[in-house]
């Protein structure tokens, strides 16, 4: 009842020749939604048919609208035999269901065939008319917005963060059904694509329902994954963070400073329903006056383009949002800060109480099981947060569990509607409950780890699986954290009223580093010192987290990508034996990965890891471990103690000599790295008062007086295997009583390890890399952007490989891959590879697959040293600038840095900056070569009818401002070939497939009216090949947020009034919740 879907087929172009005789095609189109199908007329003898059809109308439930894709099939009419399919287009109409997103889908879509790839294009128009649905028991959740972005999307404000939502649906995999034996590969692929599309739609709808029940209107950090479990089925699962988002009025740039300093919010704000409080006062404050070097990011606001990733989007109100997150410190090294924190309890404490009270009252009748659920798992998929949300970060918590996938026990359970559209016996495979229970178990474990760290929440949370035959490793990880309850929805976190930890607000630039746990009762041995920044509380000596570097954090020097890589052979085995073998190996792998990370961190003189992601992939005869993170030197934490080498047998002269040489090499490397990453111990900063004044004042004595912490540290990573985890089964990763950073050389393995430590080659001059949203220490992005995906598969020779040999191969593989990026992108120098997301897999015995998606972004070298202090000024100037509509010369450095810089570099006259909107769109256009040259505005209107669509795994595009989110892009494609050689082998096959996937994503975004995809990721890339049969098949799943962005300097009118508008609107919204 509630919706009318209308579609019109306009024209086709570049169709393939289907009739050899005439070299032409008689094409017509079938438009299908649910069970209804319409056809266009046949357009005879043309490769560029103009159907110009009537509007095909489908009257459907909004439930179906959410689940089903619109399916468009282009066929070649044949009078005498069956019509030949040319290809299909699936259009997800979800974006049309939300009033704030796109209103019409209109554009050229590639016609895709799973065997032949893209075959021409079709121009389609789609609209939806929704009627109001007053049904309270409705099953649809139209209007809930989904974002892949793991921060509050720019141009929205989080009125409230409700918490964790998750769902999974299960079905039988069409590929493994009996009917697959008799149908064509094409039919089978299409059935699978279709099914997954349906399942994703259903999943999204169900999650949407949960969000509505919680009172939210959006899901942020939406992460959807497929588990291809083979015979036992197909699982589609998703997690996300439910929020109530308010749209910022149009003109308000995220750039306006909106950081709230928690301390400053007047007490009164806190009391009411969270949504109402304090937006306004809050904003004004945001500059943490105290913080020495204000964090770089915040400073940028006006220029927002680049750095904004972190803060800008969340600007305004965070009143009640429950979910914030903190940054966590790695638990591992314990520097104890804890004790002091509690003391200053002040007013906040009372606020808390008040708040809880109100919360309770409010909840009253409405509270549902979901709320409980949220409380049960206080997890947040966000990785960067509005300022003030994150109070302390405790460290990484992770849990893994090895499971055996069972055969389908009970067909036809129906957790759901059966998939009527699939023409085989629809049988739901597994009870979803089983999978649910598995995840529940893991989440419980994560939660208990967080508790052990004295934390009540987990942020930067994610889940993943690795499947090989019938063994499945489920993994979850996140960062234990304490969040500011002022921003939380009540009931979301378990916060004892006695909890005093929030009471003394710490400066935002270091507060998150302070330990959340009790100094006297530390969960693990750790070494604590007083914070090097505020001197008031304790901090650990090393901090590992899964989140992004908080924008306000004080950082010294630049960050860099740090990877730990590991291979472990295992015997081939079946069933339980295999699972046991794997679970036995896991702790060792985690331990080694952790040691490697720690060593590499020390080698770079850094003291914290952000964006840590540890992936363990299982193959038939080996396990692969890959840990990636961005290392950084947090000013608040003590300097690294270096690495010492010790021989086991003192007295052996030759050995000692050997040790000395190694020690020297290590010391040299450390020195070189310090220079490379500009890591100067704080004391040196005294020379530069502007930048570091506050730091010195606080630090001088300490820096001079305090000895560098002895190289004695311990670390611990919380993790456990499901099997073993009744008691807190954390693995103590510190080496017993030994000093972790004394490396002992007692056998060849150790020597190898050290060598491998030293073989990581630094990126060539002009390149930086990181796996987080942006690179710590680089703030002045210019607009050159080049997103890329790269895949490599290595075949191991049959020779008997040792663990060492494998490690070497694996390490080389990763290193070479990085090197080849540096080479390919050399024309963009100076540039930084951001969000370098590496996934490994063991697709077959003896094959190692590494897939990377990342973005290369140019920056202005001259300004990398830009001081945080300046940024504060810039911020101030931002407003003026907006009013003036163009950058003042004065503010040039600050606000419009990115644009101006680019023009500077390229030699393009400045005027280009001020040019039209169109050109603004261009700015970010990635030109692989010659960064700024590429940005020339002629690009978009240079006679090409194709909209330029930029893609990035980040949540922003430098030099631009996102003015509208058009909806989530979540696409799944299968490509198969039976003529592998003719297509250029596997490389040729995959190359064109990836290019096709990009093309289809771009086409969908353009049809929605967008010009960019942010938070893009390739979640799945499964390649199966059989060169002997000349066959290959590949599945790719990608997702991201379609957006419209405009050049940073283009302001829509209004801007200055936005703050007020925001606070008003938020007030009302808040009341509603």
């Amino acid at each position: 009842m509630p919706g009318k879907l209308k579609a019109k087929i306009v024209a086709g172009r570049h169709l393939p020749v289907m009739d050899r005789a005439s070299d032409l095609t008689d094409a017509f189109v079938e438009v299908k939604f649910g069970n209804t199908t319409f056809k266009t007329d046949v357009y005879h003898k043309s490769l560029n048919p103009q159907w110009n059809s009537e509007w095909f109308k489908f009257e459907v439930d909004d439930e179906d609208l959410q689940d089903e894709p619109l399916q468009i099939t282009v066929l070649d009419h044949d009078t005498y035999s069956a019509n030949d399919a040319i290809g299909k287009v699936y259009i997800d109409i979800d974006p049309l269901l939300c009033s704030e997103a796109a209103s019409v889908i209109s554009g050229w879509f590639p016609i895709y065939d799973t065997i032949h790839g893209i075959r021409g294009e079709i121009n389609v128009l789609v609209k939806v008319e929704l009627f109001n649905d007053l049904n309270r028991f409705r099953q649809s959740s139209c209007g809930v917005k989904f974002f892949c972005t793991t921060s509050i999307p720019r141009c929205y404000r989080a009125a409230m963060v409700h918490g964790f939502v998750e769902e999974l649906v299960v079905n039988e995999d069409p590929e493994y059904q009996w009917i697959d034996r008799i149908r064509t590969p094409r039919a089978s692929n299409e059935a699978r694509q279709r099914l997954i599309s349906l399942m994703s739609g259903e999943l999204q709808r169900k999650i949407g329902l949960k969000v509505l029940e919680m009172g939210g209107n959006a899901v942020v950090g939406y992460l959807q994954c497929f588990d291809l479990e083979g015979e036992s089925g197909l699982v589609v699962r998703a997690i996300g963070t439910a929020c109530t988002l308010d749209k910022l009025s149009s003109g308000s740039a995220p750039s306006t400073n909106t950081h709230i300093h928690p301390n400053t919010a007047p007490a009164s704000n806190a009391c009411n329903s969270p949504s109402k409080d304090g937006k306004e006062p809050v904003f004004g404050e945001d500059l943490p006056s105290s913080s020495g070097p204000p964090t770089p990011f915040r400073a940028l606001p006006t220029s927002s383009s680049s750095p904004p990733p972190f803060s800008p989007s969340k600007p305004c109100s965070r009143q009640s949002s429950s979910s914030d997150t903190d940054l966590s410190l790695t638990p591992k090294t314990g520097m104890g800060s804890g004790g002091s924190a509690g003391k200053d309890a002040g007013p906040l404490k009372t606020l808390l109480r008040q708040q809880t009270q109100t919360a309770l009252e409010q909840r009253g009748a409405s509270s549902s099981g979901l709320l409980l659920n949220a409380r049960e798992f206080p997890f947040f998929t966000l990785t960067s947060f509005p300022p003030g949300f994150l109070v302390h970060a405790g460290g990484v918590v992770s849990a893994r569990s090895v499971k055996l996938l069972d055969r389908i026990h009970n067909p036809a359970l129906g957790n759901t509607r059966s998939y009527k559209l699939l023409d085989w016996n629809s049988v739901t495979a597994d009870e979803p409950e089983t999978r649910d229970a598995w995840w529940e178990e893991i989440r419980q474990e994560i939660k208990s780890h967080a508790k052990a760290l004295g934390c009540h929440a987990v942020v930067g949370y994610s889940e993943s699986t690795s499947i090989c035959e019938e063994v499945c490793i489920l993994s979850a990880s996140g960062t234990a954290a304490i969040l500011n309850p002022r921003y939380m929805r009540e009931g979301c976190l378990d916060i004892g009223s006695t909890d005093h930890r929030f009471e003394e607000p710490s400066p935002p630039s270091c507060g998150f580093c302070h330990i959340p746990y009790d100094e006297l009762n530390m969960p693990f041995p750790a070494q604590l010192t007083y914070c090097y920044h505020c001197r008031r509380q304790k901090v650990p000596d090393v901090l590992f987290t899964t989140i992004d570097l908080p924008p306000e954090a004080a950082v010294t020097g630049k960050g860099c990508l740090i990877q730990a890589r590991l291979c472990r052979l295992k015997k081939k085995a079946q069933g339980e034996v295999n699972a046991t073998a794997i679970s036995n190996l896991l702790p060792f792998m985690e331990y080694e990965l952790h040691t490697q990370l720690m060593n590499k961190l020390k080698l770079r003189s850094m003291n914290a890891l952000f964006g840590l992601r540890i992936q363990i992939s299982v193959g038939e005869n080996m396990l692969l471990g890959l840990a990636s993170a961005t290392g950084v030197y947090l000013t608040a934490l003590p300097a690294s103690g270096g690495i010492q080498i010790a021989g086991k047998t003192p007295g052996d002269l030759s050995n000692e000599h050997h040790i000395l040489t190694i020690q020297k090499r290590i010391n040299d490397t450390i020195a070189k790295n310090k220079e490379l990453y500009q890591i100067n111990p704080p004391k040196l900063f005294t020379l530069d008062p502007e930048v570091f004044c506050s730091v010195n004042m606080e630090l001088t004595e300490e820096a001079v007086g305090s000895p560098i912490p002895e190289p004695r540290q311990r670390s611990r990573l919380f993790r456990s295997h499901s099997e073993s985890s009744d008691e807190l089964s954390e693995l103590d990763l510190s080496h017993g009583k030994k000093d972790a950073f004394v490396l002992e050389i007692d056998d060849t393995d150790a020597v190898e390890d050290i060598h491998s430590l030293l073989t990581d080659t630094p990126p060539p001059t002009g390149f930086y890399s990181c796996n987080t949203e942006i690179m710590p220490g680089i703030y002045n992005w210019t607009s050159g952007v080049q997103m890329f995906t790269s895949v490599r598969v290595f075949r191991l020779s049959n020779a008997n490989l040792t663990n060492q040999g494998l490690n070497k191969i694996f390490t080389d593989l990763c290193e070479n891959l990085l090197k080849s990026f540096y080479f390919k992108l050399r024309s963009m120098i100076p540039c930084c590879l951001c969000h370098l997301n590496v996934t490994v897999a063991v697709p077959e015995e003896e094959l190692i697959q590494v897939a990377v998606t990342a973005v290369a972004m140019t920056f202005d070298k001259d300004q990398t040293q830009e001081k945080p202090a300046e940024k504060v000024i810039q911020k101030g100037s931002g407003e003026i600038e907006e009013q003036l509509q163009f950058p003042l010369e004065l503010c040039a450095d600050s606000s419009s840095t990115s644009t101006q810089q680019s023009s500077k570099i390229s030699g393009v006259p400045e005027t280009s900056n001020v040019s039209s909107r169109v050109s603004s769109l261009e700015r970010g256009s990635p030109l692989p070569e010659g960064r700024s040259r590429s940005l020339r505005s002629n690009r978009s209107f240079g006679g090409s009818s194709v909209t330029v669509v930029k893609m990035t795994p980040l949540s922003f595009l430098p030099g631009t401002r996102i003015i509208k989110y058009l909806g989530i892009i979540n696409m799944f494609f299968i490509r198969e070939t039976t003529s592998l050689r003719e297509e250029g082998g596997v490389s040729g096959f995959l190359h064109s497939f990836i290019a096709e996937v990009f093309a289809m994503v771009r086409a969908h975004v353009a049809a929605l009216g967008g010009n960019a995809v942010v938070s893009y990721s390739m979640k799945e890339c499964v390649l199966m090949e059989n060169p002997n049969k000349n066959q290959a098949q590949c599945l790719i799943n990608v997702s991201g947020d379609a957006v419209i962005c405009v050049r940073e300097t283009d302001q829509e009118p209004v801007s200055s009034s936005t703050n007020i508008g925001q606070s008003c609107s938020s007030g009302t919204d808040g009341g509603a919740t």
Partner: protein, 364 residues
């Protein structure tokens, strides 16, 4: 242990111009890697041969995938598969359609047929252009010819619009198409000294002056069944050229013409004596060429005739280029003063082209 698969795909297609050129030139991946290494990229970018190989392979694959689109360049602008900035598209197309003068000189005027294609390996050996590159160039010629010969309207403009080429390149293609269509003989020994650019210039002259299109849309377009285009010479004009014979068949006219020319030239050049002595021969040569152009066979021999009947005799008399210019100018203009000569228009149309062609062709 081996890399089984290695791909890199950018959202904006990454193309290295140097590698593109190597690909166009028909280098294999391995040869291209060698060339690049010799170019010193390795040192410059602190990288390894493996990386270079991988990069080269990626680019080669990209080019191969693009090649289909380059065959109809207009598609490149609105295809969706590769996101390529327009100025880069233009470079891709222009380079793809560029050709080696050495190669084109070999096939100029030949029928663009399978037969010729079979000879490409000989041409490749002779010109040291790789066979692969020869094939690309040959196929380009054929493709352009095929599209353009069906079209009405100005040749150069058609080529430019359909293949999005620069003006210069479009003119060169027009010349190639024109030569192929009319099968002008260019391969004879006596013509070997002429470069492609010489011929291209002459082709331009012929296209602009002697084709149907050259005189603009015929007024009697409806009546005429001739297609309005300038790939073919204007048949009516060729017929009219026969009338010029009177210049050599009518003795009075010939003598009168000679005296007029000689009067004008006297004292102005050292070669005057030779000019005077040879006048009748030379005039006969030029007019006979004109008169015979109705035969397709003679059209083919147009250039060889020019060389044999006019350029060679002059060269053996050591005329300078200036002499040539002087002579032809007066030779043409004097005909206007002949009262019994009524074919001024045809004469001008003919001699205008002949003059420019001979000026261009009269060199070592």
């Amino acid at each position: 242990m081996a890399v089984e698969l290695d791909v890199f795909v950018g959202n904006t297609t990454i193309m290295d111009e140097e590698v593109y050129q190597l690909w166009l030139d028909g280098y294999t991946v391995n040869d291209a890697v060698k060339v690049r290494m010799e170019g010193g990229v390795l040192e410059e970018c602190e990288t390894s041969a493996d990386v270079l190989l991988s990069d080269t392979m990626d680019q080669y694959r990209t080019f191969q995938m693009c090649e289909r689109l380059l065959h109809s360049p207009a598609k490149l602008a609105n295809q969706l598969l590769f996101q390529i900035p327009p100025h880069r598209q233009a470079i891709l197309i222009e380079r793809y359609y560029a050709f080696d003068d050495a190669f084109v000189r070999e096939v100029l005027g030949k029928k663009l047929s399978k037969g010729t294609k079979k000879d490409l390996d000989d041409i490749s050996a002779k010109t040291t252009v790789t066979l692969k590159s020869c094939r690309r160039q040959f196929d380009n010629f054929k493709r352009v010819l095929k599209v353009v010969e069906e079209l009405k309207g100005p040749l150069v403009e058609n080529i430019r619009q359909h293949f999005l080429l620069s003006d210069k390149l479009a003119r060169d293609y027009a010349a190639i198409v024109f030569f192929a269509n009319n099968r002008f003989e260019t391969g004879k020994r006596k013509l070997q000294y002429l470069t492609f650019q010489d011929f291209a210039f002459c082709a331009g002259q012929l296209i602009n002056n002697w084709t149907v299109g050259a005189v603009g849309e015929p007024v009697d377009h409806q009546r005429s069944s001739r297609v309005y285009m300038d790939v073919d010479l204007d048949k009516e004009f060729l017929q009219e050229l026969k009338e010029l014979k009177i210049l050599i068949t009518d003795k009075d006219l010939l003598d009168q013409h000679k005296s007029l020319v000689c009067t004008a030239l006297r004292g102005k050049t050292k070669a005057f004596n030779e000019m005077e002595a040879n006048f009748k021969n030379l005039s006969r040569g030029l007019v006979n060429i004109a008169a015979k152009l109705t035969n397709t066979k003679d059209v083919r021999d147009f250039f060889i005739d020019l060389v044999e009947k006019f350029i060679e005799p002059c060269r053996s008399d050591r005329w300078t280029a200036a002499d040539m210019r002087l002579y032809l100018t007066h030779y043409t203009n004097s005909a206007h003063i002949l009262d019994t000569f009524k074919h001024q228009v045809v004469w001008d149309r003919y001699m205008g082209v002949i003059k420019s062609c001979i000026f261009k062709m009269y060199h070592d």
